[in-house]
Structures are given as structure tokens and as C-alpha cells.
């Protein structure tokens, strides 16, 4: 006997929804302060990614060998230098801002590609016959055992070095994770009664997969994707050294972190700020995905509508 199921309180909920979707969503966001902070931070990042290169592109590239490794929290040289300067004397604040664009393009590109392809293959593997499913799973095994560096080198030799190819390499290596997770969930969800109900109505396999199964899988995929974001942002820099990724003077957070590595002992701020940006972005995405998991689920939504008390 679940008590909440038939409580009369449900009627007020419907009213909440009638007030308009957007307001409802904003209201739910407002009540979960963590998610709110995360959203604001992400909006700032997106703003930086879109407008950063336009606003600060030049400042980010202005070298000054005599003012190199200037420590942070000093605005003697102007507020661009508030986070300090790097080993070429370029101000870090504009660099972090400008780097948001490439970082987001690559990370979002790679994560989107891998999650979409992985989820599609996983849906097929989970819903199609077991033979097809097995072939796809073995393919995932092969990709998983194939060293990503070798893949990168192969791509570098066969194709030309470019950002697009970097995204391809990063995406391919992450596909198995999504594929396996999706398949596992599909195997479970396809047993549910409402899938059968849809079948009885004559729904096509595509409709069942995309309309009924996929929405149930998405929250899990989003959670993995947010954690992958951090991974991709760091992995990207380790492939850049092969020459297939972003090349200076273009910049990403991952590249800034890895360039700042040798200065960790003498000028910690070089790697710290971009690292912090990566950490905060990951955390924000994770908090937001937790919030979305609840907000997207009609049966859980009430948790947000009564306030952030039990955001479990």
C-alpha cells in the first residue's frame, strides 16, 4: 500500500501545471538552489563560449614576456589580469573565457556524438533480435579494447589533423559506455507492460523505441554524459599533443591545464583556473542532470514542487 499514490493532494498539482510550462519549470528550478546555481554558472559558461572570443579574443593573445606568470588577485595591470597571467604573459581571465568556446564545442560535440550513436546502437542491441544484439555488443568490446591513442594516431595518419577528427576520436572511444548502459536498460524496460500496450495498439518498433523506451533511458544517459564531460575535457588535451586537436593560439581548458602542469610548483594559477572551470562545469552539469532527472519524471516532479527538501 503506497500512501502517496491516491492522496487527494494531486489535484493542486494539475493546477501548478496549468500555470504554464515555463513558469512551472522556473519555479521548480528556483526551489532547488543547487540546481539554480548550477544553471546560472552554465549560462555564464555558454555566454563565454558564444561571446568570449568576440569580447576578449585579442586580450587573450596579447603576449608580454616581461610580465609572465604574474600572480593572481592583482589588478595593477587592469582587471584582465585579476586571475594572473600565463608563461607568455597573457592574461588568464580572458584566456579562460575565450577557451570556453573550443572546450564546449569539443566536449559537447564528443559527448553528443558518442551518446547519440551509443544510445542508438544500444536501443537496437536491446530491442532487436539477440543475434544482432550480440554482434553489436562484441563491436563494443572491440572498441573498448582498442587503445584510444592508437585510434588517434590512425586517424591522424589517415585523415588530416582537425578539430572535427579530434571529436570523432573522442566520441568513438566513449561509445561503448552508452551502448552498454542503454542496452541494459532497454532489456529491462521492454518487458514492461506499457510497451506491450503500445504493441497491441500497433505501434511500430521505431515508435516503441523512441517514444516509449528512450525517454526512460535518457535520465541515466544524461548522468553518464555529465561525468563524461569532465573526462573528455581532460582527454582532449592529451590528444592535442599528437597534433590532431586544437592547435595554439587556439586554446581549450584542457590544454591550459596541461600547459600549466610544469608550473604547478612555481605558478599554480596557470593550471588552477582552467582546472577549476572544468570542475565547476562538471559539477554544475551533474547537479543539473540530477535535477532534470526529477523534473522530467512526472511521478517525481512533486519533490521539486514542494521545495528542495528531499532532492534525492
Amino acid at each position: 500500500m503506497t500512501m502517496t499514490q491516491t492522496l487527494p493532494g494531486t489535484s493542486t498539482q494539475a493546477e501548478v501545471q496549468q500555470k504554464g510550462r515555463i513558469r512551472g519549470v522556473l519555479g521548480m528550478l528556483w526551489r532547488d538552489k543547487f540546481a539554480l546555481a548550477a544553471t546560472i554558472f552554465l549560462l555564464v559558461v555558454i555566454f563565454c563560449a558564444v561571446c568570449g572570443p568576440m569580447l576578449m579574443g585579442d586580450a587573450a593573445l596579447s603576449q608580454n614576456l616581461r610580465g609572465r606568470n604574474a600572480p593572481p588577485f592583482s589588478i595593477a595591470n587592469g582587471w584582465f589580469y585579476v586571475l594572473g597571467s600565463d608563461s607568455l604573459g597573457r592574461p588568464l581571465l580572458p584566456r579562460v573565457v575565450v577557451a570556453a568556446q573550443n572546450t564546449m564545442l569539443i566536449a559537447a560535440g564528443a559527448v553528443l556524438c558518442s551518446s547519440i550513436i551509443g544510445a542508438l546502437l544500444g536501443l537496437v542491441a536491446g530491442y532487436a533480435s539477440s543475434r544482432v544484439g550480440n554482434v553489436i555488443l562484441r563491436l563494443a568490446d572491440v572498441i573498448m579494447s582498442f587503445p584510444s591513442l592508437l585510434l588517434a594516431v590512425v586517424v591522424l595518419y589517415i585523415l588530416a589533423p582537425s578539430v572535427g577528427n579530434l571529436v570523432i576520436v573522442l566520441a568513438i572511444t566513449r561509445i561503448p559506455v552508452y551502448l552498454r548502459t542503454t542496452r541494459a536498460e532497454v532489456m529491462e524496460i521492454r518487458q514492461r507492460m506499457f510497451v506491450e500496450a503500445a504493441e497491441v495498439m500497433g505501434a511500430s518498433p521505431a515508435r516503441i523505441v523512441f517514444r516509449h523506451i528512450l525517454p526512460m533511458v535518457i535520465p541515466t544517459l544524461v548522468t553518464i554524459a555529465t561525468l563524461d564531460f569532465a573526462f573528455v575535457m581532460l582527454a582532449e588535451s592529451s590528444l592535442s599533443f599528437l597534433g590532431i586537436g586544437i592547435q595554439p593560439p587556439q586554446i581549450t581548458w584542457g590544454l591550459m591545464v596541461s600547459q600549466g602542469r610544469q608550473y604547478l610548483a612555481t605558478a599554480w594559477w596557470l593550471a588552477f583556473w582552467p582546472g577549476l572551470a572544468i570542475i565547476l562545469t562538471t559539477m554544475s552539469l551533474n547537479l543539473l542532470s540530477n535535477w532534470m532527472r526529477i523534473a522530467l519524471d512526472p511521478t517525481q516532479r512533486w519533490r521539486l514542487e514542494i521545495g528542495g527538501k528531499s532532492n534525492g
Binding site: R138, D141, L150, L227, S258, L264, I278, T282, G312
Partner: protein, 304 residues
């Protein structure tokens, strides 16, 4: 169970074969090992000589045939760089990686499960929030940051531990600790989610009605039920670790298979690359099998 194992062995064999074929041909698209092994100023004669010695002049398909033939005789070929059997090179590295992975994953599993379970007991509580934030920072912090800061703090400033290297148990502490952080964050999240779900299960009510205490409810009744998704993730993480932990190996001077693989790829030491991939793939396959068996042990419903 026997059927499961047999089926897995068979299908993994095909995966492995596909992997070998792919790696063999793709890796040979990536340049000439002779140019890398010999100095820049090498004469054409030296280059030709090198290629002749290592059979690099033959058509690719002949090289492949020879490789497969040798492989059937359990000969994985010679390492170009080290002038000894590739498989010896790989086994040496793998032994280190395996130990590192085993120790780390064991500690991570224990810590993540205990802390994740406690966090899930009161979702949204202070402990839960704290654990979540710490684990998220851990999961997204650049690992070389953590590694170098750890060396500076624990080895240089406090001089509690050796900076790097191998030899004694003390040498293991820092690499294991740094390697620990990322999977810990990830597994903790999964444990927490799974445990929250299990706490809502009806059998928890039964246990309460029976008078079972909280500790037993968490760690005896709920945990085992919540372990299935957790085990999958632990398996994935362990698999990733068996592929080597390049940054840890590089910084701590740890002679594992990760750095070996990277070096071999960059130096086009194909035989070592292939042997390393086969060994790690095999290890991952065995581990996946163990995970399936663990599934069956944990959940009797899977057995039938």
C-alpha cells in the same frame, strides 16, 4: 553456467580476432618504425637493412600471415625496441598494472560502497551532500594535478612517503591514492542511486517489521540487492584500469602496461602493441566473466 562460460569464450574469441586484425592493419598505416628506430641521419642502406631484418619489406598480407602463424604457435613476435619477446615485455608491465588495478579497485569498491550506502540512507542530508560534492570534485579534477600536489605535500614537505618508484609497500600508497579518486566518485554516485532505490523496496519494510537494526538493513538487506548496477560499473572501471593508468604510471615511474602501450604506439613497436592489446583484452574478458558470475552469486534470480 557452463553454457554461459562457453558462449562467452567463443564470442570473445571472435572479438579478439577482430581486434587483432584491425589493430594489425590499422597500426601499419601509421608510419614506418624504421625511421623512428634509427637516427635521423641514418643512411638509406641502414633503413633498408632494418626493414629487411624485421620483415617490413614484405607485402602487408604476407606479414599478417606470418604473424598469425607465429601466434598460433604462441609466438607474439619480438619487440623492436627491446629486442626480446613482446609477450615478456607485456607480461612484466601487465603484472604491475594488474596489481595496481586490483588493489585500487578493491579499496575503491569498499570505500564507495560504505560511504555511498551511508549517504543514501539520508538522501539530501549533510553527509550525503558532502560525499556528493567531494566525489564530484574527485571525478572531475585533473589527475596529474592531484598526483603532483600529492607528491609535493606528502613526499617533499612532510617526507612521509617516497615520491615515486617501486620497491616497498610505501611506494604504492600515493599511486593507489591518486588512482583511487576518479572511480571512487563515479562508483559512489552509482551506489548512492542504487541504494536509494533499494531503500524504497518492500523487503526493507519486512526487515523493519522483523526488528532488524539499521546497520543490518543497510549492509545486509539492501546492499546485496543494490549491488547489481554497482558491479557493472565497478567492472567498467576495472576494465579501464587494466588498460593501464598512463598518467599515474608516468608520474610515479610505475612500469605498467599503460605507459608501455603508449610508448609502443608512439614508437610503432607493433608486436608489443598487439601483445598488450591481446593481454589486456583477455584480462578484461575474464573480468567480465567474473562479473557475470558475481551477478549470479549475488542474485539467485539470475541463476535460473
Amino acid at each position: 553456467m557452463r553454457k554461459l562460460i562457453l558462449g562467452r569464450v567463443l564470442s570473445s574469441f571472435f572479438s579478439l580476432a577482430a581486434l587483432v586484425v584491425m589493430v594489425f592493419f590499422l597500426s601499419r598505416l601509421t608510419g614506418d618504425p624504421a625511421a623512428l628506430f634509427l637516427p635521423r641521419e641514418a643512411t638509406q642502406e641502414m633503413l633498408d637493412n632494418f626493414r629487411r631484418l624485421h620483415g617490413l619489406n614484405d607485402p602487408l598480407i604476407v606479414q599478417f600471415g606470418r604473424y598469425v602463424w607465429d601466434l598460433l604457435h604462441l609466438d607474439f613476435g619480438q619487440s623492436l625496441r627491446q629486442a626480446r619477446p613482446a609477450i615478456d615485455v607485456v607480461f612484466e608491465g601487465f603484472a604491475w598494472t594488474f596489481q595496481l588495478a586490483a588493489i585500487t579497485i578493491a579499496l575503491v569498491s569498499i570505500a564507495a560502497i560504505v560511504i555511498g550506502s551511508l549517504a543514501a540512507f539520508r538522501p539530501g542530508g549533510i553527509f550525503d551532500r558532502f560525499a556528493s560534492v567531494v566525489s564530484l570534485i574527485g571525478a572531475s579534477a585533473p589527475d596529474f594535478w592531484v598526483a603532483i600536489v600529492a607528491i609535493v605535500v606528502f613526499a617533499v614537505n612532510f617526507a612521509w612517503l617516497p615520491t615515486s618508484g617501486t620497491g616497498t609497500v610505501w611506494h604504492w600508497i600515493l599511486p593507489v591514492a591518486v588512482l583511487f579518486i576518479r572511480p571512487f566518485g563515479l562508483i559512489l554516485q552509482i551506489v548512492r542511486g542504487s541504494m536509494i532505490q533499494s531503500f524504497g523496496s518492500l523487503y526493507v519494510k519486512t526487515a523493519r517489521a522483523k526488528g532488524v537494526g539499521n546497520t543490518s538493513i543497510i549492509f545486509v538487506h539492501t546492499l546485496r540487492n543494490a549491488m547489481l548496477p554497482v558491479i557493472t560499473v565497478i567492472g567498467d572501471q576495472a576494465a579501464a584500469m587494466l588498460n593501464g593508468a598512463v598518467i599515474i604510471e608516468t608520474i610515479f615511474g610505475f612500469p605498467g602496461v599503460g605507459k608501455l602501450m603508449i610508448d609502443s604506439i608512439l614508437q610503432r613497436d607493433f608486436n608489443v602493441v598487439l601483445a598488450a592489446i591481446m593481454v589486456t583484452a583477455l584480462a578484461i574478458f575474464v573480468m567480465n566473466l567474473l562479473i557475470d558470475i558475481a551477478y549470479a552469486i549475488l542474485d539467485p534470480r539470475v541463476r535460473t
